[in-house]
Amino acid sequence: MTNNKKVNKKDIGKLLSQWSQEFAVFVPSIESGVATMARWEGKDTSFLDWYRNTVIPPKANFLPPMEEMFSFRKDREGYNIELPPNGGKQLIFGIRPCDARALAIIDANFKDLYQDPYYLPRRSSAVLIGVGCTNPYDSCFCTSLGISPAESADVDLMLTDIGDEFLVEEVTDKGKKLTAKTSGLKEATKDDETRAKEIKETSYNKVTRKINAEGIVDKLLASFDDQDYWEKVAAKCISCGICTLLCPTCYCFDINDELVRQQGARFRSWDSCAFPLYTKMPMENPRQEKWRRVRQKVCHKFGFFPMNLNIIACTGCGRCIRLCPVNWDITQVLESVPVREAKPQIH
């Protein structure tokens, strides 16, 4: 006897059906050629066969590309503000450990000092069911950031592919509560666990791309003012927003209003430090030049964010490398940071 459960792969559909009673269930899907977490239609579980990771990161389920913050209407009394209705509870099935960690990283930002009233309720009401990644891409480098492709503390339940079955580990109380009311799970055996352990190790070793994250904060700060270096690194960047908008840890957003005939709404939408407009003020722009923006992206993720919140804002999912139109590769960039004596760290 073990603490863990298991489920036959054939029965995944049944589990999802049960969960659909309570949650809006999202699974990896291909919509018009783009892999994304989409509402489960109630039958197909073939994603278990083809799916490696989604193009659209699961952050989109919690921080959508565009959302209404509130609407307003003007009448004789003045402006009235109305909040949009709360969404339902989400269950994300099949999230990879890198993306689950990424959500934890975004959580840190949205919890820091002020509580974000849109993102956080969605997160706290959601259940994450991780599925271990047994076939990482050649762009993946999660293991360099303390993540194992088939293990996660950032999900509620963690599934590992052990052949015809998944081993189901209860990671959180929320996960425990879910399995308690889920039928169709069997008790896992010691053999299942041994098998899962092997799978996890094999998966870990399949991640071959590496970065040296140790001391990266100091290394970057020491080279922060090295304009020549940053210009070289930025040369081929085209300042599009792919690497940031589709980064599972990037959370920057823009706020915009719209008004049509006395009625309007305020929206927030994904924004990117790659865009010159991101920091543009009427009179000046601190990051007009491309190299400054590229530097900001790298240094925010690997320097400033960990300085503040003690975690590197990158999980090695490799999307930015895989999707970049010019193959700008963050791992090569980090490798090439000149080695210098560190400036004293400041806070």
């Binding site: 000092l113 002020y114 974000d116 959370y251 305020r266």
Partner: protein, 289 residues
């Protein structure tokens, strides 16, 4: 000394930090052809009574349907029959603000950011150095100091603008000019026939006035170019970086350190600033400033 005495703004009637409170424009003062000061009060009177802020803090002001923009509260917390902010017409939101009339409703969120460290300033000689619309945040502090005059030592103000027509808060400058406890110097880059005051850019006049650095703090606010030339002058006058304060301006959207754009180094100007010592600014990441 630290200015980053940040704690979340408690003036949040709703749980949703992004929801603005409705405020009503009560008076508009055209400072210069492109700059106006708007006096406002909250529509909900009770809310208005609960509202507290400190000199140096800012708010996010909405023109509904156009957008939000950050401005410091330019009135003093010691004078609370209304609140004021000052906006220069430079973009979408400020253009809209310049189209508003008395009675119009705007949205307000805040107050956000840190503030001028009053505790640190007390018992010291204060040198205010301002340029153009940069007087707005200083003005909140200046009135604050005047209303608690006995807590501070000598006060000097060096304020300038491009031309006499570009001087903001002329009514305040008049009042401070008459105030015997303040040494107030006003200058313009270029004068006209009727101008009898000083002519010259602010850093130059500052050098002329040459306030002593002894037990003093300089509080500098103005266009970036003025700030960049003012710090060296202060240094020459033997002010240490810890004795120079300024407020930074960056593009901001959320005002609470979430949306990312006002990040420099490991600080968010909206949340950890906007008031910093020159020592802090130098320590962030110099080429970003």
């Amino acid at each position: 000394m630290t200015t980053t005495n940040i704690s979340p703004s408690r003036f949040l009637a709703q749980d949703n930090v992004y929801l603005p409170h409705i405020a009503v424009i009560e008076r508009i003062i055209e400072e210069t052809p492109g700059i106006r000061t708007l006096h406002f009060n909250f529509k909900d009177k009770k809310l208005g009574e609960e509202f507290t802020f400190k000199s140096g803090q800012f708010g996010e002001y909405s023109v509904f349907g156009i957008g939000e923009a950050p401005f410091c509260i330019s009135s003093s917390p010691t004078r609370r029959d209304h609140l004021e902010f000052t906006a220069q017409r430079v973009g979408r939101v400020t253009n809209a603000l310049h189209r508003l009339g008395v009675g119009a409703e705007i949205g307000f969120r805040g107050p956000y950011g840190n503030s001028f460290p009053l505790g640190y300033l007390q018992g010291k000689n204060l040198v205010f150095v301002g340029g153009g619309i940069g007087l707005a945040p200083l003005r909140s502090l200046i009135w604050n100091v005047i209303d608690n005059r006995d807590k501070y030592k000598n006060i000097a103000l060096i304020y300038g603008a491009r031309s006499p027509a570009d001087l903001c808060f002329k009514y305040d400058l008049d009042a401070w000019g008459k105030n015997k406890t303040i040494k107030s110097v006003t200058t313009v880059d270029r004068g006209d026939e009727s101008w009898t005051g000083k002519v010259g850019v602010v850093p130059k006049i500052l050098e002329e006035v040459a306030p002593s650095a002894k037990n003093a703090v300089a509080i500098v606010c103005g266009p970036p170019i003025m700030i960049r030339f003012t710090f060296p002058v202060l240094t020459k006058l033997e002010f240490t970086p810890e004795q120079m304060l300024t407020t930074l301006e960056k593009r901001m959207k959320c005002g609470i350190g979430k949306c990312g754009r006002c990040n420099i180094g490991n600080i968010y100007v909206c949340r950890d600033g906007p008031v910093f010592t020159y020592a802090q600014i130098k320590s962030f990441v110099s080429s970003e400033y």
